[in-house]
């Protein structure tokens, strides 16, 4: 199936936005875990 360049470009940008969102959420979880370990005195 051949996609037209504009819809391909929009699709790529959409996937990139979702990837950035996933990375940001992962960072939030990471900093939360680091804070719990550090403040809890385990680290």
């Amino acid at each position: 199936m051949v996609r037209d360049p504009e819809s391909e470009r929009e699709r790529t940008i959409r996937v990139r936005n979702r990837a950035v969102m996933a990375v940001l959420l992962a960072l939030v979880a990471l900093f939360y875990a680091i804070a719990i370990v550090r403040i809890g005195g385990w680290g």
């Binding site: 360049p5 470009r9 990471l30 875990a33 680290g43």
Partner: protein, 316 residues
Amino acid sequence: MTELSEAVPAALLRRPAPPIAGLVDGTAAHVARVGDYVEILKPRVMSLVVFTGIVGLAVAPGHLHPVLAAVAVLCIAVGAGAAGAINMWYDRDLDALMRRTAARPLPAGRMMPGEALGFGVVLATGAVLVMGLAVNLVAAGLLALTIGFYVFVYTMWLKRRTPQNIVIGGAAGAFPPMIGWAAASGQIGWGAIALFAIIFFWTPPHFWALALYRAEEYAKAGVPMLPVVAGARETKRQMLLYALVLMPVAAAPWPLGLAGPFYGAASLALSAIFVGAALRVCRDETDKSARRMFAFSLLYLFLIFFMLLIDHMGWH
């Protein structure tokens, strides 16, 4: 071993960057995909870096909370990837000239140079900051040193100037187990130095095996790898010398008390095979044995660190 070569003419050091495919009004018509961003992090190189870093962390004295240990490993991985991205940004002119690297996102025009540089700098800064905040300053300092060494000393200074590029620059690849060690213990001990030395002496025969059968491409791109500058014969001789030096170096964790006789025997056996591979390269006029040695060298390093982990954990 070979002395530093004369500097290559300055005109050869940097070439005009390749044109970006589909560039319209300063904007790339082609949008870089998520896969392109992953590719510039050099995931295959990253996997070995991460593994050696994990072993450094595991065999070091001291204890690190599992969450913080995972953060340390993540920072090592991201730092290594960031250094790879900045390397791809700087070397995009060379990459365009070599078949092995021409399809990378930058020379292929799938990504703008600024995107790769920005991505690399943001990841490098983030990795060092998180390592410093979550783990300790020694590990963060070593991570920053590693990234800086790879980018400024290896990529920008040595790679295009001397056949000793991967000997000195190889130190960047040798730091990860030391970073892991520092993350767990907060210091740099003799064990960390031994792990560093294993990768440092392994790097030249590993890369020169590749350079032997890629010499034509390196010559075309103007990269003064040892086979290009000194010839195949001298390269093979030096590969053998490094393989011989590597034998006692790889066994060093045993007398240092980092591992027991199981590791000592395994490392000596593996190193003997490595020396045998280097001898076969010396005798072989074709590049067949060099290809085999390159493949085996990857397995060798993995097994050495795996054996160290097994012995240290008492799993054997």
